[in-house]
């Protein structure tokens, strides 16, 4: 049914990490997501792409369990998405929401939430800040950092829980190129160490740089899927072709 499932290299797959089954979401009768059947494969970087208002961020939130679907379900390794499954996922939002405390305090809070024993939190927090290049800012109030630094901290906070799946909702949409590069490098490093990644982006260039699998969403529906490199080079649907060419900016309501 899905193009990349038919690909010879991926014909014999284990149960997908995350699967959307007949997923629909509507508010007051207005359909926002429509009958989405989609598999997220373990160990891959999946990019969800589409114009503004297509439902990319909503889909990500439903996959993460932040929003309950109107119909259908999300399964995690073949089982319903419960609290335990959710704790194996972490999410980075488009706008970083940091707590009103120090950079170190934010890391310690995330580690506490992840169940790290109190005695180990400070050590782990310093280690994570060093990896994120933020150790020099540890004692600064988190919310006075620059946008790029805040997003790096949000990413470090998400990775602190050692998730199996990292979800990112346009994490670099508000960032300068240097910060974007830093975020992408960190995501790639996490991916290389075995973390599965699902990333929403509206930037075809970013999808090309980071994406392995690609899901193109338009008007709440999955229009096209496949290997990112193939799909971006030879889009089958006219919508995706228009999007890549830059002729499709936003969904009409």
């Amino acid at each position: 049914m899905l193009e990349f499932d038919a690909h010879p290299n991926v014909a014999r797959l284990p149960a997908p990490l995350l699967e959307a089954q007949d997923l629909s979401l509507e508010t007051r009768g207005a359909p926002l997501l429509r009958q989405i059947d989609q598999r997220i494969r373990a160990g891959r970087r999946t990019v969800i792409m589409g114009p503004n208002g297509a439902g990319k961020s909503l889909l990500l939130r439903v996959l993460h369990g932040l929003i309950a679907p109107s119909r259908g379900q999300v399964t995690w390794q073949g089982r319903p998405l419960d609290r335990q499954a959710r704790s194996a996922q972490a999410m980075v939002f488009q706008r970083p929401v940091l707590l009103r405390r120090s950079v170190l305090g934010n890391m310690r809070f995330a580690l506490a939430a992840a169940g790290t024993p109190r005695a180990q939190r400070t050590g782990f927090a310093w280690q994570a800040l060093a990896e994120a290049g933020l150790a020099g800012l540890a004692h600064r109030p988190a919310r006075v950092l620059s946008g790029g630094e805040q997003q790096r901290l949000a990413l470090a906070r998400a990775l602190a829980a050692e998730p199996e799946l990292l979800l990112l909702d346009e994490p670099t949409a508000n960032l300068d190129p240097t910060s974007t590069q830093a975020i992408e490098a960190r995501v790639r490093a996490a991916s290389d160490s075995g973390v599965s990644v699902v990333m929403v982006t509206h930037d075809p260039a970013q999808a090309r740089r980071l994406g392995e699998d690609l899901i193109f969403v338009h008007a709440g529906q999955v229009v096209e899927t496949g290997r990112a490199a193939d799909v971006l080079l030879r889009p089958k649907s006219p919508l995706l072709a228009a999007w890549i060419a830059g002729d499709l900016i936003a969904d009409r309501p």
Binding site: L66, A90, A113
Partner: protein
Amino acid sequence: MQGFEGVLAQAFGLIAGWDADLVEIVGLSLRVTLVAVLVSCAIGLPLGAAVGAFRFPGRAAISVVLNALMGLPPVVVGLGVYLMLSASGPLGPLALLYTPSAMIIAQTVIVTPIVAALTRQTVEDLDGEYREVFASLGIGPLRRIGALLWDGRFSLITAALAGFGRAIAEVGAVIIVGGNINHVTRVMTTSIALETSKGNLELALALGIILLGIAVVVNALVMSLRASALTVAYA
């Protein structure tokens, strides 16, 4: 009849001379109000946080009631507490009427809704901002409340100070349940009322000056808190 200047000079003389009656009255005032504010925070912070952070039936109604109770007329509170504590009232056997404890109870009734309502507003605003991140991090209810209260600390201290300002300046409730008994339940506001009517203006004025000073200090604290909150990008 002395002139105003003479009374003013005598009042400052009382303050500068650390007058024993004056110190006792100011001390009792501060003790009663501080304890009342602490008790109010112990009740109002968790209550306000729970209403602000959790969705449950009747939540909107509780918010409305808390906001309405902020404007409780102190005299009515005094009457209510008096009825509860009087010999024939349900709490009569505790024999608390006309003691500092009765005044603490009355002020607590006045301050708790202030703390609770302001806490609810603060926590609700913060929760709106943090909700998704907390859900994503899998934060449990207790840790969530704790984090919301801690991150709202500047606003919450301001709420407590507002309650302190209201209680220390309040006269109607404490005079009813305290009785304004010399050396027992005489606080700044009740003394000012009594001494003025007795024509003992220098003591009344000295107390008035101190009360004004406290109001200024409380407001200065609120403003400096706001400034330091801004420097840590609290907003």
